[in-house]
């Protein structure tokens, strides 16, 4: 930067000059020193310099539009678009071809063999989505099936679902599935019509249905709302029988053994968490404490173990944790203390 060129500058020239603009919008020690020195040497330029700088500064006092309130919603939309998008990336690699092999390859291609297909290093992408404590998120899978994840849960699946292979996902935590039905003829099921949820040591096979699956504390339970699903084990053992569930059925597994099977009086209730409602039916304090820890990230300590067996008969349906704790306090006649950092202490 030299003074000479600036002595002849007009207002317009200053406004067009890179260094001048940088000084006006991003003053640094260096450029402040330069322009101070310039003005000392050429005081007759001071008014013009001042006016040009003020013009830029006033111009910059404009309104800012950031649309912060829509930030998370738009991100969710982007995520679900990506999840449903066909994956177009693939690594194409031809390793160590000598000149001779290149000629040979060319010949093979002309000969009609798809050399590229062979040398293509297909590596299907893995998609993973996870929720934080207290977060509920719906993900659209490549076949338009939807899964809603409860708090502290995750799902993994391959990005490219091939036409002639089964649809497969791996879930941890709790998820509510709404699977797109592809099969119209239950006697002839094509591979692509199969939909398999891997959960702990269970494989849940689906034809097109809605169901809830929950794997926490070594236990896995599945509740079927509509359709039909088949459950078997990741490791085949003689005593493990395959179970076919009908709507309203509920099963619970622990250490690869069926520990409970019943009809749900209100099947739809297993999915109320997907609309951010907290519901329990005939729940013990133990179940409620587990939900607080699993889905919302609380730590719960109970003064006496006997308290955990306390049971609230009937339905609880609340919208937030504070209301839930109020219900517990009044109906079980217990004391609940909530300290900072999501810690809850329950005593008589």
């Amino acid at each position: 930067m030299n003074f000479e060129k600036y002595t002849q500058f007009t207002l317009q020239d200053f406004l067009a000059d890179d260094d001048f603009i940088q000084w006006a919008i991003k003053p640094t020690e260096e450029n402040i020193a330069f322009w101070n020195a310039f003005l000392v040497a050429h005081p007759h330029k001071e008014d013009m310099v001042q006016k040009a700088a003020d013009t830029i500064k006033q111009y910059r006092q404009q309104d800012i539009f950031s649309n912060e309130s829509r930030k998370n919603l738009l991100w969710q939309r982007i995520e679900s678009s990506i999840a449903t998008q066909p994956v177009i990336t693939s690594h194409r690699r031809v390793v160590g071809l000598t000149a001779f092999m290149r000629v040979a390859a060319a010949v093979i291609i002309i000969g009609g063999l798809s050399f590229w297909m062979i040398s293509r290093n297909a590596s299907p992408e893995q998609y993973s989505f996870a929720t934080a404590f207290g977060e509920v998120k719906t993900i659209t899978l490549p076949d338009q099936s939807q899964v809603t994840l409860n708090g502290n849960s995750s799902i993994t699946y391959s990005g490219s679902w091939k036409k002639n292979a089964a649809r497969e996902v791996w879930i941890k935590g709790e998820g509510y599935f709404n699977v797109t039905h592809l099969n119209n003829d239950s006697m002839h099921i094509k591979p692509a019509e199969r939909f398999i949820v891997h959960c702990g040591d269970l494989n849940i096979e689906v034809l097109g249905t809605t169901f809830n699956v929950k794997a926490r504390h070594g236990k896995t339970n599945v509740a079927l709302i509509t359709g039909k699903i088949k459950i078997d084990y990741a490791t085949a053992a003689v005593e493990n029988k395959t179970i076919v569930m009908a709507p309203g059925d509920y099963v619970e597994y622990k250490a690869s053994k069926l520990v409970a099977a019943k009809k749900l009086p209100k099947p739809a209730q297993v999915s109320t968490w997907t609309v951010n409602e907290i519901t329990f039916t005939d729940a013990t304090l133990k179940e409620i404490a587990e939900t607080l820890q699993d889905n919302y990230g609380y730590t719960v300590s109970v003064k006496e173990d006997s308290l955990l067996r306390l049971k609230i008969e009937g339905d609880i349906s609340v919208n937030n944790i504070t209301d839930l704790l109020d219900v517990l306090t009044t109906s079980l006649n217990i004391t609940i203390q909530q300290s900072a950092g999501k810690h809850i202490t329950i005593s008589k």
Partner: protein, 195 residues
């Protein structure tokens, strides 16, 4: 410094790092909204454009280059996407598709507690800017607000560097005519003016 951090982020995103991709969104969301808002007041259209831009980024991440400035690259992409959407929209609403079928508006609120001279100058700047054609408005914005160089501006606006010079000078001529030696302004600003 910021540029270095962002090119590391960009690099990591290109290798399929979802967290880096999420950071890009978080870092640039409001800047892109602000830029988009100059072209249209239809915030749904801006959202659609940001959506398309980010979905496309992820899908084509392996084939993307390494831009000198991530921000400029995103500005340019958003601009192209958004202008295309505005054009389509205007086709549907039956508006005349001119050569440059969109506006470029900056807006100012009236803050309290501003010195009278400042307020005068602000009003003046605002008035002149509003009379400029959209492309001149845009180049003034990229120059004075974003502080970009001529070649950066040329890249974002998809014009030659030479055209960028010419365009800016045209805009500045208009500014100078009004801001130049004006006795009225001189009195308000308490400035004497030699040129």
């Amino acid at each position: 410094m910021r540029n270095e951090a962002n090119s590391a982020l960009w690099h990591s995103f290109k290798q399929g790092n979802w967290e880096a991709y999420t950071s890009l969104y978080n870092d640039y969301y409001s800047l892109l909204n602000n830029y988009g808002y100059k072209f249209t007041r239809n915030s749904n259209l801006i959202e659609d454009a940001i959506h398309d831009l980010f979905v496309r980024l992820w899908a084509s991440r392996e084939n993307l280059g390494n831009p000198v400035s991530v921000k400029n690259y995103l500005y340019k992409s958003l601009r192209n996407t958004l202008l295309r959407k505005i054009k389509t929209e205007e086709k549907y609403t039956g508006m005349d598709a001119e050569e440059y079928p969109f506006g470029f508006e900056v807006s100012y609120s009236n803050p309290g507690g501003m010195a009278i001279e400042e307020k005068e100058l602000r009003e003046k700047v605002k008035a002149i800017i509003n009379t400029l054609p959209p492309r001149q408005k845009e180049i003034i914005y990229l120059r004075f607000y974003e502080g970009l160089s001529y070649d950066e501006i040329a890249d974002i606006m998809s014009i030659s560097i030479n055209s960028a010079y010419k365009l800016l000078y045209k805009a500045l001529e208009n500014l100078q005519q009004t801001l130049g030696p004006s006795p009225l302004l001189g009195i308000f600003l308490g400035l004497s003016y030699f040129s």
